[in-house]
């Protein structure tokens, strides 16, 4: 007998699958059970199979498994799509009165519960409640007290009035009673409840909530799966804190709107997915070279191009690390769980302002569509600290002016971090530009100034590498010869996989990485393991490439970036210098 139960409702897009699934997930969460949800969906609005899956246990659940115990099937296709997950003893709930379901054949060994969902819903007040009838059936099958459903029905339908809520409660009970009376079957499931209080949220909501906690006041975005939930979460909430969401005409605009708000001093953010990141890349270098703090979320989905918009992939890592022409300092952070989406978003805002550069927060479809339970303390708002970096107080402006009283927004300080004044601050007026500029923010092609500014921008990154923690989360057996490394959302699946492995006597050490750049140096860990396996959701192994790159033996380097091409004689002498000293050379 498994400790966890896997439940799903499936049908056509437009059948209310998501909201029904969410009601059940919420009921479980309120009953003190852990929940981990996932979705199978196609991007068409109507037509096409879609399913909402819930895995629940009194213990934490961190991933999905290939086992389905109870399935509410609104269509034949729902059964077909899930045949590989259904097993002997699985319960399939369906409405045999539905013409398309009359010929449903219940696979050998499984239990079919034919319940007149629609008719019972009509008895309760309307056919529209058919899915809720099915939820009542599921409660009976899982021995889950139906009262737990009531609260989430109230939450879902409360704003439609008590009559609607009552009808829904009635619908659920009719379903439950029908099974009780009609099927004399002792189901093997028994969903315990506990006194624990959990909150249930998905990765996009966690990013949005993290943004609000971090003082984000401006969001601009253009709708795209699976990032839209971030914008929808913020809309209606950010206003409570004096902020605003602008739905832009495209992502070119979205990032520029956010850039403008950030220049005015707001903590600003935009979120998108691959195709939008491509467009935003145009402005990315501008954000970086003007040293503007900005948080950009990439909720990854399957690429390239429009790819598989509703499918999972971690394929954007290279784009985030290297996208954009020229050399652009940036940070890339990849939260590893839904809760981490919250924490890393807050951290991203602090990093952006402390180091005055763009920070990518990258999650993915699997985090975005997973609703997961957490103890509310995991989102402790008292712990949130806001660090705004070198924001110059009105009284200190003069100390950052040159001898002609001009403010120097790109002053090349020792740690590379320049002073920042917000518009409206007297004496702080300055320009900045995407052209290479001097310390005043004015265009220049002077070779020395160019070098100063490039160096200053990379010094910020060096400073950050020194001052901040860029560590990994470690799990498993620290002494194991087998080292698993992964990044982003795979953490939960790997941790559960380790339990399976453990049962088979295989112990592993697992490093879960959320910092992509800057990142931890894993040379020692990799060196000391006999077998190193890098796990990621893409074909090419982009993170694996990075790690291999990080642990390669070093080459010597000659670099030149003052705007003048290599000259043969100069180059020859530099090569000789390298050979003589082994040191890196900067022309």
């Amino acid at each position: 007998m498994h400790k966890d139960l896997n439940w799903a409702i499936g049908g056509e897009a437009g059948d209310g699958i998501d909201s029904t699934g969410k009601i059940f997930a919420q009921a479980l969460s309120r009953a003190g059970r852990h929940v981990f949800t996932s979705k199978d969906f196609a991007s068409r609005i109507r037509g096409g199979y879609t399913a909402y899956k819930v895995r629940t246990s009194v213990d934490r659940v961190e991933s999905v498994v290939d086992r389905l115990d109870i399935l509410i099937a609104l269509t034949q296709r729902t059964v077909d799509e899930n045949l590989d997950e259904l097993h002997e003893g699985s319960v399939i709930i369906y409405d045999g009165e539905r013409t398309t379901m009359q010929d449903l054949e219940i696979p050998e060994g499984m239990i079919g519960l034919d319940v007149p969902l629609k008719s019972l819903a009509e008895d309760a007040g309307g056919a529209i409640m058919r899915n809720v009838v099915a939820l009542g059936v599921a409660c009976e099958v899982a021995s889950f007290p139906i009262e737990n459903l009531d609260e989430s029905l109230e939450k879902r339908f409360g704003d439609k009035g008590t009559a609607i809520v009552d009808n829904n409660k009635e619908a659920a009970r009719l379903g439950q009673e029908y099974v009780e009376e009609t099927y004399d079957h002792a189901f093997e499931y028994e969903l315990e409840t506990t006194d624990n209080d959990y909150v249930l949220l998905n990765g996009d909501e966690a990013i949005g909530m993290g943004a609000l906690a971090a003082g984000c006041r401006f969001y601009a975005g253009y709708p795209i799966t699976p990032a839209t939930d971030v914008m929808e979460y913020l809309t209606g909430r950010i206003e409570r804190y004096g902020g605003s969401v602008i739905q832009a005409e495209d992502e070119l605009s979205a990032i520029n709107l956010a850039l403008g708000a950030a220049r005015a001093g707001a903590r600003a953010m935009t979120a998108t997915s691959g195709p939008g990141i491509d467009l935003m890349t145009e402005t990315f270098g501008l954000v970086a070279t003007t040293e503007t703090p900005l948080v950009i979320c990439d909720v990854m989905r399957s690429g390239p191009s429009t790819g598989m918009p509703t499918k999972q992939e971690q394929g954007d890592l290279n784009q985030l690390l290297y996208g954009g022409h020229g050399e652009v300092p940036r940070f890339v952070v990849a939260p590893t769980t839904v809760a981490e989406c919250f924490h890393k978003t807050i951290e991203a805002f602090n990093l952006a302002e402390k180091y005055q550069l763009p920070v990518y927060v990258t999650s993915d479809l699997s985090l975005a569509v997973t609703e997961q339970t957490f103890a509310p303390e995991e989102f402790d708002m008292d712990e949130v600290e806001i660090e705004r970096g070198n924001l110059v107080e009105p009284g200190d402006v003069e100390s950052w002016q040159n001898d002609q009283g001009q403010f120097q927004p790109h002053y090349p300080t020792e740690d590379g971090i320049s002073p920042r004044t917000l518009p409206g601050t007297a004496g702080g007026a300055h320009m900045t530009t995407g052209l290479e500029h001097d310390e005043l923010g004015r265009r220049t092609e002077d070779t020395d100034v160019r070098i100063d500014q490039v160096d200053k921008r990379s010094r910020k990154v060096e400073t950050a590498v020194e001052r901040e923690q860029w560590d990994y989360r470690e799990f498993g057996d620290a002494d194991s010869d087998v080292l698993l490394i992964s990044w982003g959302s795979n953490e939960g699946a790997i941790r559960e996989a380790m339990e399976f492995l453990d049962d088979d006597g295989v112990s592993v050490r697992f490093l879960s990485c959320s910092y992509m750049f800057p990142r931890a140096d894993l040379s020692e860990e990799i060196e000391s393991a006999e077998e190193v396996i890098v796990v990621e959701c893409n074909a090419g192994g982009q993170f694996a490439d990075l790690l291999e790159h990080d642990t390669l033996s070093r080459v010597d380097r000659i670099n030149k970036y003052n705007g003048v091409r290599f000259k043969a004689d100069e180059l020859a002498s530099e090569i000789k210098d390298v050979l003589a000293t082994g040191a890196e050379v900067t022309a």
Binding site: I246, R263, A266, E282, V384, I386, L422, A429
Partner: protein
């Protein structure tokens, strides 16, 4: 804001590298006058400049400013204003910047009606890239990339703005210094998106749309007592008139709410506490 601001306070110490005689000198002077005369000073003003000869204006003026990427100046300006409505925001760029690569943003900026000013320095040519045709170039205007003319109709920016629901649509001529400054000033004062298309001749690459041409052909609606800018039909007629070009405030809708007003944007979003908002645990509780 101090009352003793002079327009030269908006001048930076960088000498413009525009060709002698370029229309952009006059356009910039008018902008500085308009800003000073409306009680602004460099510390409360934010200028966003596009890319082009015109875009260099951000460097030659003194204020808070950002010189962005080609075509995207408007969204930056809108973001600045949304975040801090106290600031005076002026966006400036060329006809290529605004009506070609940035035309999508132009239309949506007009629709949004954010309370900012947009000055397009329209020389009917790509100046910075040395003389290719622009979206406002005449059909038969010969350039390096249109040896026989572009053979496509020029856009009518005023009509675009009208169709997109513009609330302030004006046109001026950089060498008519006084009128130009006056018109930009009214755009600044307008409570909404103040759009001014400024004829700002390129003396180097455009020998058709010259000072003489505009001087001879422009009709000043300010001198026409019968022109009522709040009259939509009159404005439409002037804007769609293919036989004449007009200078002045052609259309103004003083009734429509600006974006700031419609969306209740009044706060300076830069002011945030040093921790999460006080009631932030409510956000968590919503997920019970």
């Amino acid at each position: 804001m101090s009352s003793d601001v002079r327009f030269t306070d908006f001048k930076s110490d960088k000498q413009p590298t525009w060709c002698p005689g370029c229309g952009d000198f006059g356009t910039m002077n008018g902008m500085m006058k308009a800003l000073a005369e409306t009680g602004n000073d460099p510390d409360n003003t934010f200028i966003v400049a596009g890319i082009g000869c015109s875009g260099k204006i951000g460097t030659y003026m003194h204020s808070y400013a950002l010189h962005g990427v080609h075509g995207r100046a408007l969204p930056v300006g809108i973001g600045v204003k949304a975040a801090n409505p106290e600031l005076e925001v002026m966006v400036a760029g060329g006809d290529g910047d605004g009506y070609s690569i940035g035309v999508g943003h132009f239309i949506h900026a007009v629709r949004r009606n954010m309370d900012i000013t947009y000055v397009v320095m329209d020389n009917r040519i790509y100046g910075l890239t040395k003389g290719q045709f622009s979206p406002t170039s005449r059909e038969d205007f010969e350039t390096s990339t249109s040896p026989e003319g572009p053979k496509q109709a020029p856009v009518n920016p005023l009509a675009l703005a009208l169709a997109a629901g513009g609330t302030f649509i004006a046109q001026s001529f950089s060498s008519d210094a006084q009128r130009h400054a006056e018109i930009v000033k009214r755009a600044v004062e307008h409570d909404g998106f103040g759009f001014v298309n400024v004829y700002s001749p390129c003396v180097t690459f455009n020998d058709v749309d010259t000072y003489d041409y505009f001087r001879d052909s422009l009709v000043d609606l300010g001198e026409d007592e019968d022109h009522d800018p709040t009259d939509y039909d009159q404005a439409t007629e002037a804007i769609l008139d293919s036989d004449a070009e007009y200078q002045g405030v052609i259309y103004q809708d003083e009734e429509s709410a600006s974006y700031n007003e419609a969306h209740g944007l009044t706060e300076n979003m830069a002011d945030i506490p040093d921790g999460a908002p006080e009631d932030a645990m409510d956000l968590v509780r919503e997920f019970y």
